[in-house]
Symmetry: C2
Subunit: 532 residues, 2 copies
């Protein structure tokens, strides 16, 4: 009855006759009994109960009742969580899940999940240790697995999907919107993705396959195929009658697209204009022809910027010939915006924005080891520079005490400039035209702050070591290093980008190398020249 | 004719009679003439031209034509920029603006701006040096200033608004949506804000004043007042007739709100349901009563998380008694999401997410000096630790060469953990319940990576200095520092948060202090024990 075997047991129990399960339960010890009971699906429960002795029935229903007891609170906090002040509620839900996993009372998780939004379930799953996720994942209703998968980060999704029964995965895939399905297939090993494709009907498969042919981070990878396209020669009343036939519209339908006979994009009609127009108005009268469509190969960063700037809900996607292919909606763009912003932050620490916080130790270790190794090269470079001046250090040991200050001040100042530049690049506000303006400004800041802190550090060093020469040397070294840091902070990301290297990822390592090497070299070099 | 005087000249020219301007133009040198001509408003141009001699007229219109020449390219790239592949287009536009500012041909900026989206104008203004912004800002059409202001970052907006004529500012304010106006007033000095309030009519003023009473980062500060609320006892047809009276609906109207007689929130009706329903359907039949409203004091981070999770376009905001106050729309939430994500990144470098990249040197220097000063305390603490072992260093100078390696490996490993935890906290995935799980995992990673890199560094140190003892000492110190880094990376942000300090802002300084002090102390301390 270990955790790992639960899954097999669940499957066994599903296949058994209720009477047989009942007789099995009667033969077990009370502890085992409760454990098995937790694995029985809700619909089976009643049938099994009817086959049990009254005493046992009372015991097991009481057990279920005890589980029920925790619910009112979870319920109340669930409602709160949507209204705000969510932190406490989130904690309570997480505690319920962790305790249920601990005690093996998985049904409680199922009951909790049934009341939560798929996105919240995804959040809870990501908050669990990687090893426990599969058990909790099994308690998600099958009809909602697709929706939960859509809200998971890439790494977690891939791992859970890989552990799923193929049939369950295919079921989950069937409920997903095509754009989310495309994301999922891109995350799965090739075979599994193909299996899922084969279960779709021909029309769906062709659509998904065409979407798979676009890069994940382009308009084609972001778009969905649920747009409503009409011709310009109809009237509002006709459109409304057509919409009534559909019964419900896809979410985020803020506009309808106008196409010609060849399905070429002509313009848009906003839903709000349709709502306020008279039925006899021709659609052509409401149509806006100056709304620019997005090219299918447009990069997602550009699209995100446009959504943000123009406050859009949806945009049409067209192929090079102007044929309407699909539309991109704000819910997917919000994810892109968050990913792009997180990419800069996580990248500076050598992490991926899709990283699973609770990934297994070995997996995380391997990934982070690479980053530490790269930084070790930097550290040894700095050590080598210090090594050049071993002779000097031997004679004036105070230099060894003060030298980290020079390197660290340079590193801090440089990382401020670097962060500003990386954000400026991400927001598209920094091009070759205004680089020189920024460079001058940053050098100005480096000069002012360099002078200020050079004087402060020099004064402190003189007081500490009673040596005027060391004060002068450290002041010069700090000023020099802050100027270099400003220069490096502006130029490194720009050069990296031109070389096709992601500045958010490599920028901080290269910058630290520069400020360490310059800092140590300037300080110890000047000391060697002036003190020996 | 300096830049600063242009504004005064523009005002003078506006008040002058066209004939007078014409005669003034005739008396100037050609260079001065063109410069003055650039300051004349478009509507005046024709009148002035008719008063000029034919030769002069030809010269000036040719000049205007030369300006026109740059436009086709700007136009073409402008269209591209919305379709994607925007970088080149953005560069071209920025170059046009910078060159125009350089040569004083401000009309070109005005012509370019007239073709651009207000958000793009805001982006261009932010890409300019702070000193040149006011001149470009003057070329924004007065009717669009409010829209551009809305898209600027706080710091830039405040500075431009402070430089505007009060009348212009009031005009701009009148076009803004109440939520944006509230933002603007919160950024302005108190007097100016009150002046703007006084120009509104009583009903608007009361609304804005009530919104000003909520904190900027709460639902009350985010909400807008343009919701459409109806009663549940009407029919779809009645709603449609009412909407037709409005002619157009506010942007992002994806739902209508149902209220009772006391304006208390009852539920929602989605616009898409209205579009697909028959006119005789009662609204009550389409109403969803389980859509949770947002409390007016809910923090913006919770709201952003809900929008992201549930893919929302708008939510109703209610007061504690359940009265519908307004609604929050996705366009404002996108800004919040971006700000929150940027806050973590910028905070780690001691910067504010509203920072103006091109702020004047002195302003930026002062702000960054604080951060450098805080870090200097850290650096001196590390130096003090090294100073404790001056004696040891004097005898084994190799230690001085290797010691930065120990500190730097700890710093890198710690900042990876810290970044992960800060993001986990921002996403609400880390509570007290699962902290211990994460802590164990991070310590596991620290142990594995510590062992790996301890061996590597030890081997390198032994090869370099031919000293086995030093190799052993550095290995032990690195292992210890990586374990401490894992512990500190998890606990520091959690402790800071409990103390009410922003972990994104203070986390990295405190972490560096820990890894530096532990690294130097472990390495030099062990060396003192074992080598002397």
């Amino acid at each position: 009855l270990e955790r790992r075997k639960r899954k097999r047991m669940r499957r066994l129990l599903k296949a058994m006759h209720p009477a047989k399960i009942a007789s099995l339960l009667e033969t077990l010890t009370p502890a085992q009994r409760i454990s098995v009971w937790q694995q029985i699906d809700e619909p089976l429960e009643q049938k099994v109960l009817s086959h049990l002795s009254p005493a046992l029935r009372a015991q097991l229903t009481q057990e279920a009742g005890a589980g029920e007891d925790t619910e009112p609170s979870a319920d109340a906090t669930g409602a709160e969580s949507t209204a705000g002040g969510a932190d406490a509620a989130d904690e309570t839900q997480l505690r319920v899940v962790l305790e249920a996993l601990e005690s093996g009372k998985l049904k409680r998780i199922g009951r909790l999940f049934r009341k939560l939004h798929p996105a919240r379930i995804a959040g809870l799953l990501e908050s669990l240790p990687a090893a426990d996720r599969a058990a909790a994942w099994d308690m998600v209703e099958h009809g909602r697995m697709g929706k939960v998968l859509r809200h998971l980060h890439e790494e977690v999704r891939r791992r859970l999907a890989a552990e799923m029964e193929q049939d369950d995965l295919v079921d989950a895939a069937r409920e997903m919107a095509p754009d989310d399905l495309v994301d999922l297939i891109q995350d799965l090993p090739g075979d599994l993705g193909r299996e899922i494709l084969l279960t779709l009907n021909r029309r769906e498969r062709e659509r998904v396959e065409s979407m798979l042919s676009y890069p994940e981070d382009s308009a084609g990878g972001l778009m969905n195929l649920d747009q409503i396209a009409v011709r310009a020669d109809i009237k509002v009343g006709t459109l409304l009658r057509y919409l009534r036939l559909l019964e419900d519209l896809p979410p985020n339908t803020d506009k309808f697209y106008i196409v010609d006979r060849g399905n070429r994009y002509q313009g848009i009609v906003r839903a709000r204009r349709v709502l306020t127009a008279k039925p006899e108005t021709p659609i052509a009268e409401l149509m806006e022809t100056d709304f620019e469509p997005v090219a299918v190969d447009a990069p997602e960063a550009d699209i995100a910027r446009r959504f943000e700037a123009q406050d859009l809900i949806s945009v049409p996607v067209v192929d090079p010939a102007g044929v309407l292919l699909g539309r991109i909606t704000v819910d997917d763009v919000v994810d892109v915006i968050r990913d792009l912003a997180e990419h800069s932050m996580m990248g500076m620490a050598g992490l991926d924005e899709e990283t699973d916080m609770f990934a297994p130790v070995v997996v995380s270790s391997r990934r982070r080891a690479v980053w530490l190794g790269i930084n070790l090269v930097t550290a040894f470079l700095a050590a080598w520079v210090i090594g050049l001046f071993e002779n000097t250090l031997e004679q004036v040991v105070a230099l060894a005490v003060l030298m980290p200050i020079v390197a660290s001040m340079g590193g801090i100042a440089g990382s401020q400039t670097l962060t500003l530049v990386i954000r400026g690049l991400a927001m598209g506000q920094l091009g070759t035209v205004n680089t020189s303006i920024l460079l001058l400004k940053e050098i100005g800041i480096g000069l002012l702050n360099g002078l200020l802190w050079a004087l402060v550090v020099a004064a402190l060093a003189i007081v500490w070591f009673g040596n005027w020469a060391i004060g002068g040397i450290i002041a010069a070294a700090i000023l020099l290093n802050l100027l270099c840091a400003a220069l490096a902070g502006v130029l490194i990301p720009l050069i990296l980008r031109r070389l096709g290297i992601d500045p958010a990822l490599a920028g901080s390592v290269v910058l630290t190398t520069v400020t360490d090497v310059v800092g140590f070299f300037a300080f110890l070099g000047l000391a060697t020249l002036l003190l020996l």
